[in-house]
């Protein structure tokens, strides 16, 4: 029931993003059918064309923002809406409420990360007469999810710290930019700690092996992904500890 409650709270957000992503993916394929390869770059590999649309440029930033917004909600929002007391009166602990919300959010995020993997390799041969490896999509989905869960945890934490309705949303949306400012200064403009650059990490730019072809050629950075998973867990645990102590 708690999972269903969490789903009801977030489904409009999730379905809006999912619809947009599916429409975008199909639109991309239909466009590629006519305009691939682009006349100005006739030798462009299809993988690089897919990469530049789905995994590079603004795509990591857009996914980060979606992850942050999916993390929003919960008891502070219910307090503003006047329903927190009803939820707290349910015969469940606060941690159970949080776990259900976090699980649903992470699952929704995973679905969004996998959508291109489900659409692009399956429909490319039929629509564009090109092939794109499923494994590439899954690797990119893993990279996106690695930072995605960190952003989700951040949005989750903000939604517990801030009571104002749009305050948490704005804090969430601004977090990646604030992070980039801090990162750029600590890394001397991105020269150090490349895995800590979320957008370069998500788009695979840290793997220079097959970068020109838009393909990931190196093994996935498991250590960095593990560290990011730990960071996300720490954020969610912080959210839990704060919620335990909050007075509604």
């Amino acid at each position: 029931m708690l999972v269903y409650k969490a789903w009801r709270e977030s489904r409009v957000r999730f379905l809006l993003v999912l619809s947009a992503l599916v429409a975008f993916s199909l639109g991309f394929l239909l466009e590629a059918r006519v305009h691939f390869p682009p006349p100005q770059v006739p030798m462009l590999p299809y993988a690089a064309y897919v990469w530049s649309t789905f995994y590079a440029q603004q795509a990591p930033a857009a996914f980060s923002i979606v992850a942050l917004v999916l993390g929003l909600g919960g008891l502070q929002r219910e307090r503003a809406a006047g329903t927190a007391a009803f939820t707290l009166a349910l015969p469940v602990s606060r941690v159970q409420l949080l776990i259900a919300r976090a699980a649903v959010g992470v699952l929704e995020l995973a679905v969004l990360a996998i959508v291109p993997a489900a659409i692009v390799p399956a429909l490319s041969p039929a629509l564009v007469h090109q092939s794109y490896p499923v494994t590439q999509c899954l690797h990119f989905a893993s990279l996106f999810m690695s930072w995605g869960v960190v952003w989700f945890g951040t949005g989750f934490l903000w939604s517990i710290l801030f009571t104002g309705d749009y305050t948490a949303a704005v804090a969430s949306v601004l977090t990646p930019w604030a992070y980039i400012v801090v990162y750029a200064n600590l890394s001397r403009g991105g020269r150090r700690f490349p895995s800590a650059n979320p957008f370069a990490f998500m788009s695979g730019e840290i793997d220079f092996g097959g970068f020109a072809r838009g393909l990931l050629t190196s093994p996935l950075p498991w250590l960095a992904m593990g560290v990011l998973g730990l960071v996300a867990t720490a954020l969610l645990v912080s959210a839990w500890r704060l919620t335990e102590r909050q007075n509604f």
Binding site: A23, L72, A178, V181
Partner: protein, 246 residues
């Protein structure tokens, strides 16, 4: 009093956005000490470095998203909180409730667009580089006019959606989907139809691709069209709110 109410509702958003955008601009210009000229492109001029980072970088996306979110709020949000009845009972028409909110949001967006005007030339001089104030002012003008469309989009969505986070996600998706539509469809052949291009001159003749400085007059006809689109969205929000049953 309605202006003050609109300011109180949006000030946290505005101040947080100003702090982050300002910090980003300061950080980017200061990095020129280490990162300019870029190793990969040693011939790029300083104005090109600024253009790529401040006027065509992730800062642009941040500005657009913040502008959209400044448009959020209003009676639908108050309905969710249960205070719409009090606001509607004030001796003011719905139009008079909406106008100050729209004006405050536009003023806030204008202030955010003006941040690079202050930061970039001044900070550039402090690190021994030069960036013309006139260029920064012209880019700010482009950001203000195009930013009005994003504010009006947020204003419109917040009039349509009741769910607090539904309006937010609709707002965030708007620029992303718009960018996808103008870059991934036949509209790509009309660069002036892309508001992101109008913001910074990408693929448009008023930006010199060598110096990355604005040359010639601003595209007044395009800007008028953009302003008209913003006015239409504000008008649609007003019509929707006038007919809404709270």
């Amino acid at each position: 009093m309605l202006w003050y109410k609109a300011w109180l509702e949006s000030r946290v958003r505005f101040l947080a956005s100003g702090a982050v955008l300002g910090a980003y601009c300061v950080s980017f210009v200061q990095q020129a000490r280490h990162n300019f000229p870029p190793i990969m492109e040693p011939t790029v001029p300083y104005s090109g470095y600024i253009w790529r980072g401040v006027y065509n970088g992730i800062d642009t996306l941040a500005f657009v998203i913040v502008a959209v979110m400044l448009g959020l709020g209003g009676l639908q949000r108050e309905r969710g909180l249960g205070s719409a009845g009090f606001t509607l009972a004030l001796p003011a028409t719905r139009l008079r409730l909406l106008m100050p909110r729209a004006a405050v949001a536009l003023l806030e967006m204008t202030s955010l667009a003006a941040i690079p005007v202050i930061v970039v030339p001044w900070l550039s001089a402090s690190i021994g580089r030069e960036y013309p104030v006139a260029q920064a002012v012209q880019f700010a003008a482009l950001f203000v006019v195009t930013g009005a469309v994003w504010v009006s989009a947020g204003f419109f969505w917040s009039s349509v959606f009741t769910g607090e986070h539904t309006g937010t996600i609709a707002c965030l998706l708007t620029p992303i989907l718009y960018a996808a539509a103008v870059n991934g469809t036949a509209l790509r052949r009309f660069p002036a139809a892309n508001i992101f291009n109008v913001m910074n001159g990408t693929r448009l003749p008023f930006l010199d691709r060598t110096s990355f400085l604005l040359v010639g007059p601003l595209p007044w006809a395009t800007l008028a069209g953009v302003g008209l689109a913003a006015a239409m969205l504000f008008g649609a929000a007003i019509v929707v709110t006038a007919r809404e049953d709270f």
